[in-house]
Symmetry: D2
Subunit: 363 residues, 4 copies
């Protein structure tokens, strides 16, 4: 290394997701302890690099200690730091500071950037690599599991385990009080969390964005159960689910600049109450799904992804995305991951199994 | 016993609460296995006794097996079954069927009734004992811990542990995204859950019904933290909390016949966002607090309460309420528990400790 | 179906494993509610079918209700009921009652058997199908995840999550008291649980049957950490791990007819204490890993497996084993699964990632 | 304060216990943020003060952040640092360095010491106060809950919740395999953990040091259950329990300088197996009970205790122990706590309730 240590940068962008710190820890332990590189953490996505003042944190083994069990990200995160339209205070006066990214990384002596983020962050990284020559390795982060290039993303398992636990808790109340309980979970565009938590939690109906639903079909199921002596039902609904012929309630609210809990959950509960005459209540899991200690599954997955990201840096393989395919960690071109979301396929065996145990999707 | 087994009845009324099945189990194991009595369970509060058709369940050790870990109540519950104004279908045509309670218990050969329920149920039981001669032993059930006669009620510990876990989960998101997170917990009239979960979860502000709050004081705390480099804050708010000079938002909604999640939580988040300029989100724990597997604490408390209820029946001590005082199980006259709610005292050492670690109450 | 319902039998064999009841529930809900078949449960592996008295349980939706969250198996299980050497009381006077299996299933009107079990049970089922014409569909159950034909088995994820949680708990004690903590986990022949819980829990060394270890290498790692100011270490050891040149301690004990907790765990702790001079303690997770509520992951996997088993029965495809390959449920010939155990490959990316974060295997 | 900040010292001694960091956090937040004092942490009990080199840590709000959810102690702990017989390396050449304690605290400008520790630490502190004039405030720490002066100690609730969860996990295995499961929990001299976890977990027998047991009574209970169709049983045994006329197995092992897991647990399992003919297994919870994230209950209790300790320092009330009595935090003379252990009283209502649900104690 001729006296000069190799140095890479790392940042995290987008929403909170269990396992971010575990990826960071794996990158740092490998780089610092095995390879004797240095890792420079950039705070708050790109803000800490190109914002009014640099905000960096040298990532040492001490800094990442305990990272396996810590939710959130020790580097902070934000959705507003797009370098092509940089507007960290959200005042609507964005500037194109994309050139600064490579310039500053160079001045810091960093060979490249390991970026942890969602599809938004990955699209930005891909643009930066194409337009400014940034050398970047992406680690995909989406709690919704809706990225096409990878079988699974870290954070998803933690979210599903918590959502299932929540359904478990609602079960006893529903049963004791002869109620319909509607649980609204994450998933604006894809129903993976709803599908998994619904099957895991023993729901009677699962409503997902992929299947515009008719509530009459759900009501029928609830009344069928009534006849068989089951005076309660559980409905899991993804925030992005919508009625056949209807609009996404969530998007409507978001568009108006106001977020109100329980758009679709409340709608479904109210309508099922009217239709069936059975008392119906709703609960919105919201941010509870994003936080907390990652499951072992996600810690392990995150460690594998982080280690592979360093493998790529060692081999000077840039502009790649680290992914999981058929239980193996591998990588694909970053460009392939942009705009490549996936949805629940109604032909998959999990949907068939769900129908097999009697769960209705409202179709 | 001259060939005829002694027999008692048992029912559960009011909202779901972790530990109900553990009380039932303790009563049944003691009565059936130790005393060779029979226990007749009445389903759905008083509905199973005086409703259109009797709905009973003999409570044997087999039926209550596993009761320690099962949330809800195996007997079902309802808030509509007041025998003095009996209206099980909620159509507003209540009848006074109070006389039927004793009549039917007699015809079933039951000496008396062990009733598990909240203050509503206990008031009804007291009226029944005074007006119709019902022999009843009450076991108090309020997840809110707001009954004056007892130091603590079962279910409260389970609710606090879950609410604290929820605050833990929100912490990491708040910290990563530099946000204010507002968590709305149960407590219409008393702030015990908010106070305990707020201290246990490390909140920065706790808003409770006992202390009409000024949000400017909370905003000040949040901005103080900002200055000290803590770019996030957690606010725990009881559903019944209200602004100084304002009305209870929850009650207003309830009065209008609509329940919407996050009345006060949403209000607090919106106003703090406007005042501080910091992104603020809210989460409503709602029914998640009532369900699930009881903590060991509640299972143990429930077992002690159930066993003492049988002690009273053995001694033919009726019209008593089983309570916990200074770590001992004892009993008080049922009449003493009616209308005897308690509130958080601002002089208690927990509130002082909360202030000691810097938590503000908005006063 | 001309008036006669189709009927299948189901049993569970071998050790306890989280998710057994979830498989049973899926089979029953599909068969009874969707197909209008009947499912006859046989208690205690084959004992309930060919034992001194038949012990059967009709599996209705009521019987399997709550099966997602219930550990163990509602049918009971045993390791002693091999029909070719039937010796249910373990007195060593086995008889060949294999012919009775088909005979009795026929007399019960069952088309075939869905058998949930480990490799022992699957070998027996395969023999029964080859020698007696039994029509059987196997669902593999091994908490150790060491079956070659499938990517993963249900129960494994639950075991790993618990073992990781246990490592988390030991971490704080190790750190506070400057100790080496040795955790012995399941895995006589394969180190999957140790590997996963070790990576998930942030262990410093992982000892598995696949890699005969030298404790000097582990001691070196511990002392390296000491130098870097980390005065504690965590070692996860599979029960079947052994020293280079040594014997499996576990097997030795088992052979002598005595099982004593902590054969290898205790050995490792004692020797590391002597070598490093650092206080070392051990903990044996034992049966804690087998029990408890299954994770959502295992409930979902179990539901998919159960549903596919019924698919095979619908299509009259017998003597198949239901497996998971590349995230899809499929099936293979039962004969292929016999004697087909798998081990941790040292080339897999998880082992590489473990080494990447500095974990030593003692090789 | 005339320009000079008041300063106090704080240390932790004895075994790991959930809630230690929560006490430290409460002391520091109150002292530093409310009172503008300084808090000097001494590492590893008294070692960091009087050892070969001082090892101190200024305790700021940053240092204690996250302390509510962190197990262990951030200051480290040891059982070997008795200043009257100072032998930190355990070589048996102890020196009396007690005079150094006050001397060094004075030279650091500390008014006094807040000491968190068990009865050993409290006895040392009392001796120091009597012989050297140390000004000390004690906060009692015993996971076993066996201190006479206080109704409950922090850490106990966390240990009981975990032990109960463990019993829950073993239940399903016991039931599926028709086994006796013996669980050995902490408690050398007092059976509080065994009693609480046994009642909470639904054990059939609880063996505690306070009641020398006859295993024939336990076997009788197990066989009674057999007759009633319950083919499994759970026995919770405290590590210090002993047979009528027998010796404490644990102490015997400890005396010989070897600790082996499952002294009494293994003994009980082996003997019950021989007596009843039913398969019996044992599990030792060991260090798992000490670690992990504290429950909300313990975090709250710890916060109250820590805040009261500062109250005493504010009022210059030294040589006091902070305790909980009848749900209120108060304090008693430190001297009163020395040699004041408490045991389970067989007359308490919890033991009666345990017997009420059919649990046997072997008496």
């Amino acid at each position: 290394m001729s006296g000069k240590k190799r140095r890479i940068a790392l940042n995290t962008g987008g929403g909170d997701c269990p396992g971010l710190n575990a990826v960071i820890r794996a990158v740092v332990k490998r780089c610092v302890l095995q390879l004797e590189w240095e890792v420079i953490g950039i705070r708050d996505s790109f803000d800490g690099l190109i914002g009014p003042r640099m905000d960096l944190l040298e990532l040492t083994p001490d800094v990442v200690a305990g990272g396996l069990t810590r939710g959130g990200t020790l580097l902070g995160s934000t959705n507003r730091g797009n370098p092509f339209d940089f507007d960290p205070t959200g005042e609507g006066k964005g500037q194109d500071l994309s050139g600064l990214v490579v310039e500053r990384l160079n001045s810091l002596g960093c060979d490249g950037l390991i970026a942890l983020g969602g599809d938004g962050t990955m699209a930005i990284c891909n643009d930066l690599s194409e337009r400014t020559g940034l050398k970047v390795i992406g680690v995909p982060k989406t709690i919704d599991n809706d990225l096409l290039g990878t079988d699974i993303t870290f954070g998803f398992n933690s979210a599903v385990e918590f959502a299932t636990l929540a359904v478990d808790r609602l079960h006893t109340t529903a049963e004791s009080h002869h109620r319909v309980m509607v649980v609204e979970v994450m998933g604006r565009d894809a129903g993976f969390i709803a599908l998994h938590a619904g099957v895991g939690g023993g729901a009677d109906a699962i409503l997902i964005p992929e299947v515009p639903f008719e509530l009459s079909k759900v009501a029928e199921k609830i009344l069928d159960r009534q006849v068989r002596g089951r005076h309660f039902s559980i409905v899991v609904v993804a925030e992005g689910a919508r009625e056949k012929g209807g609009e996404q309630i969530h998007d409507g609210l978001a568009a108006s600049g106001k977020t109100r809990l329980g758009g679709i959950g409340r709608y479904v509960a109210d309508k099922l109450h009217r239709t069936t005459g059975i008392d119906a209540r709703y609960t919105v899991l919201g941010h509870l799904q994003r936080g907390g200690i990652p499951t072992a599954f996600d810690r392990i997955l995150a460690t594998r992804l982080g280690n592979h990201a360093v493998d790529l840096a060692v081999d000077d393989m840039w502009n790649r995305l680290v992914v999981m395919r058929a239980n193996k960690i591998t990588d694909i071109p970053l460009a392939d991951a942009v705009d490549a979301t996936k949805s629940v396929s109604l032909d998959c065996d999990l949907v068939k199994a769900a129908r097999g145990v009697g769960i209705v999707f409202g179709d």
